[in-house]
Symmetry: C2
Subunit: 574 residues, 2 copies
């Protein structure tokens, strides 16, 4: 084994990834990983971005892969470097985002003997990696190069197809790690298949319901006119939201759509179900005969509780592209494994166009009343107002990344129904607040339009190092910070009454002035305190080319009170 073998092997491997369609690699510094990193960075079909903190690199790759729906490669050195990918790898597993994790490792003779920077990397991510392979270090014979080409293809297609997710390849690398000479040009015929085609292409497939299942579902919808559609996060197919809305309009069904579904649009969309369903009597008066769920279940707890409370007479159907058992409310009576767009189109063809009538109006009229009540209650700049402003103002070509915890809930509650909503992305596989900044920068790197991140101060403090992407990669991102000095969501919970320990250990105030963070990482900083200032700052930031941090100060206790006032106003209004 020579360095030349190592680099010839990796050139074939990376060439093949690029032939499959890989376009993005996120690398982190290290010594053992040198051959991996150099091979990726030198491949002209890839854009390689560099990330000092592997945790940030992992989430950045996740953001990139969310935007494109295509696998993104990660490469880091041995040791705990690889462990820092774990949060992003787990989020990718839960959220079904394709990643190709390439970790450098010491060769077997240097493992478990106290050698530096060596940990047990075999199956490091456990069940969160869809596929794991140890790749040993062998001479670059034609047979080996061919095997590596196949391996690269298998990694790429495995990450992408079926249920997308992360794959992990652990590369055993021996010294010397640097090639002194130039890599010889590819030999004719040694460079893979002609015309730039990959060595192996796995044809894509979608899961479709069988005809019997489809006929049965159409019949059930015919028998049960009091039906509705619930649409949650469905990031993979940017066209799905419009398709869901079209289906609901064709069938005349109320459509309870979280903004992450892309389906909060059209005449049937219900925006304020979270506020409305807090009134149990209101919900009980609208018991559906059938619920068709598309995508994840929305975040709203009142919605989940309402679905759970429905009797066995309501037929609840959960549609999932990979037949995942997604039913936290324990309410589904049928799990329907099918690509949602394929299914909804087939269903539309089987169902006559229908007017929603009183059943639809019983949902849409209160939803409009709720919208008015909310608008009336939102004077001054507040957390709900920020979500409402973003919902109303962000242009359709823009992507909004929403942090977990309160931002995702405020966006769910306060985003309006629009004909052309912006795309909304969020890390809702595992719902962590970790890596949010890095994810948003990854989205900013991959999206065709501008990107705005809505985030709270605890999530920003958690991934503060993610801001380094503004300085090192020069990426534009507009961050709208809701700064209430602590985890505002906890003030809504019963634990908030436990004053003795609540404040320091649960709310975790930190008194950070993020203006210093903006200075550290080279972001413009715009503190705002009125809706007018917010909108002006947004306009300036979106017109500029750099990264901006727009800070909105808020108060946790007043924020809870405002939410409660709004819910009460909605209750009274309907």
């Amino acid at each position: 084994m020579t360095a030349l073998d190592t680099y010839l092997n990796l050139r074939a491997f990376v060439d093949e990834l690029a032939r499959c369609g890989l376009r993005e690699a996120c690398t982190s510094p290290g010594s053992r990983s040198t051959p991996l990193v150099l091979s990726l960075v030198r491949e002209p079909r890839l854009r390689s971005t560099s990330h000092i903190d592997e945790r940030c690199g992992g989430f950045f790759a996740l953001g990139l892969a969310k935007v494109s729906g295509l696998p993104v490669a990660l490469a880091c050195t041995s040791g705990t470097a690889a462990a820092n990918y774990a949060p992003a790898v787990i989020e990718a597993h839960e959220a079904r985002v394709p990643l190709i994790v390439l970790t450098a490792d010491r060769p077997p003779e240097l493992r478990d003997v106290g050698a530096g920077q060596t940990i047990d990397q075999i199956k490091l991510y456990g069940g969160a990696a869809k596929w794991f392979r140890e790749v040993d270090d062998q001479p670059a014979t034609p047979e080996r190069l061919r095997w590596l080409r196949g391996l690269a293809c298998r990694a790429y297609w495995t990450a992408l197809e079926g249920r997308p997710g992360p794959v992990h390849l652990n590369f055993s690398l021996r010294e010397p790690l640097v090639l002194e000479e130039r890599l010889p040009p590819e030999e004719p015929g040694g460079g893979g298949r002609p015309d730039g085609r990959p060595w192996v292409r796995r044809a894509a497939a979608v899961v479709a319901p069988d005809h019997v299942g489809l006929d049965e579902l159409a019949a059930e919808l015919g028998r049960r006119p009091r039906a509705l559609v619930v649409a949650g996060r469905a990031e993979r197919d940017p066209q799905l939201g419009a398709a869901v809305a079209s289906f609901a309009e064709h069938a005349g069904l109320p459509l309870l759509a979280e903004p992450t579904s892309g389906a909060r649009r059209g005449a049937c969309a219900i925006a304020h179900y979270d506020a409305l369903l807090r009134d149990q009597a209101w919900g009980a008066a609208r018991t559906p005969e059938l619920v068709l769920r598309v995508g994840d279940l929305p975040t709203s707890k009142p919605l989940r509780q309402w679905l759970h409370s429905l009797s066995a007479d309501t037929l609840q159907i959960a549609l999932d592209p990979e037949g995942a058992w997604q039913d936290p409310a324990g309410a589904a009576a049928m799990l329907l494994p099918a690509d949602p767009r394929t299914l909804l189109e087939a269903l539309t063809a089987r169902l006559p166009a229908r007017d929603g009538g009183d059943w639809l109006t019983a949902w849409t009229a209160p939803d409009r009343a709720a919208a008015s009540a909310i608008a009336a209650a939102l004077d001054g700049l507040s957390e709900p107002r920020v979500a409402a402003e973003l919902g109303a103002r962000l242009p359709p070509g823009l992507t909004l990344v929403v942090a977990s915890s309160m931002p995702i809930r405020d966006v769910e509650t306060f985003f309006p129904v629009r004909a052309d909503p912006p795309r909304v992305l969020s890390n809702r596989g595992a719902n962590g607040i970790d890596g949010t900044v890095s994810t948003a920068f990854g989205v900013a790197a991959g999206a065709s339009g501008r990107v705005v991140l809505l985030i709270g101060d605890v999530a920003l403090a958690h991934d503060i190092g993610g801001l380094l992407a503004a300085r090192r990669l020069g990426l534009p991102l507009v961050i709208v910070l809701l700064h209430n000095d602590g985890g505002g969501i906890f003030d809504f919970l019963p634990v908030a009454t436990k004053g003795d320990v609540f404040e320091h250990h649960v709310a975790t105030p930190h008194r950070l002035d993020f203006g210093h963070a903006a200075a550290l990482y080279g972001l413009a900083h715009e503190p705002v305190s009125t809706p007018g200032q917010l909108n002006a700052a947004l306009d300036r930031a979106l017109a500029g080319t750099g990264a901006t941090l727009i800070s909105v100060r808020s108060d946790r206790k007043r924020n809870v009170a405002l939410h409660r006032r709004i819910w009460e106003a909605v209750r009274v209004a309907v």
Copy 2:
């Protein structure tokens, strides 16, 4: 199951941890973890510190546990929160540091069904956790409370004894998560064993060599007068360093001691072996007949290569308290499982006091010459000079935390032999640069004297969020930053010639002005550029009560050239 059951269960569990000796808990915010966090925080025998980022919390706990040698508890909520502990858990496994990781989880019926913030936490840390238990949620019957007391004891003693390391208990917790009423007082007789004793105490044990082994070793040392001792990281027993130095003096043996061994002291200690052994002829002229290794193998690559190069005639013996197979150089002929202090004392009793004679002088005289040559070469403030100044000036009661990468190597190369060195700690289990700031703050929270951290800019950028401990916990720590805008160690490697991609993807310059970070997190900032300024800033910082960041600017290329000049000066001087 009621909230009362949950809290009674956890009270017994935490009470028992405290009876065993637990004194520190590091919590992070969340909802599912509320019962765990409240139970820990309310236990008066514990100090609970709060950490927004679980990765920081994990390394902070690691630092605390390194100082005391006792287990520290960690508690976080479900989901990727727990995955953020992985780097610290892995480092704790490799470095043999006791941790008790308590993760909150949703109960089984909410797992793998798309419920919020739910991932597969079963055996999340794989082989890095020494012991894993799933703890389900059961009524607080007397039988259950008794079982939980035993469980807490088992967790504590398992983390601590034998080969110390992390244990992981995953708590399944059901709503309601908050207890509305007050917890009733402990019932007489229901509160565990009398007199505050733990339910189960596992008596400590040390591994000692059998008499045959000891006699054999003493005989070998008698037969092989050209012997030497190599001492590496041995953080667990702060008395070990002095014991190793005493043994070397008794036996008249050269002692090649990394500062992390605590043994770079006394008449036999050799400080500059890394510089000296770069000259292969010099090393070849000093072939030992026996090498006795205590602790990890030191970091020095020349030392490792020299040990590897010795012929089979040299008897190399690796002493390890738990019989771990620590032999990355592939040089050991005998692995001796024994508590080092016990063994060295027994060996001293069996061996006559011996003058090292010419063999010892062949090491000590060049070492003194090397020290002079180094001192002469160190004009102005440079990275080596900073290490040398810290080595000369830090008082004995102080603890120095040293980052991986260049700082650990500079400390190894430039620390002098001293009668009373400061304690030196470092994360050298997996040698990561991650979590270094947080580890140092944990050490600062636990150490009896002041704590200084020597760190490079990439490691500081990696764990920048760790600085939040300065603001939220008010901990004093003096950070000496070697800022050369990138990973300076890579400039020493062959990859540094690969200009096309080296700078951005391997060196990773970031142009951060850490003065803004000091402002963000409330540290004093002292930029220094001469040795006098460094020492004055150190004196001021050590006299103060807050946290200080002392920044030394450096240049990577000049730093490499200086190291090479120094190695050459040492070669010429001997």
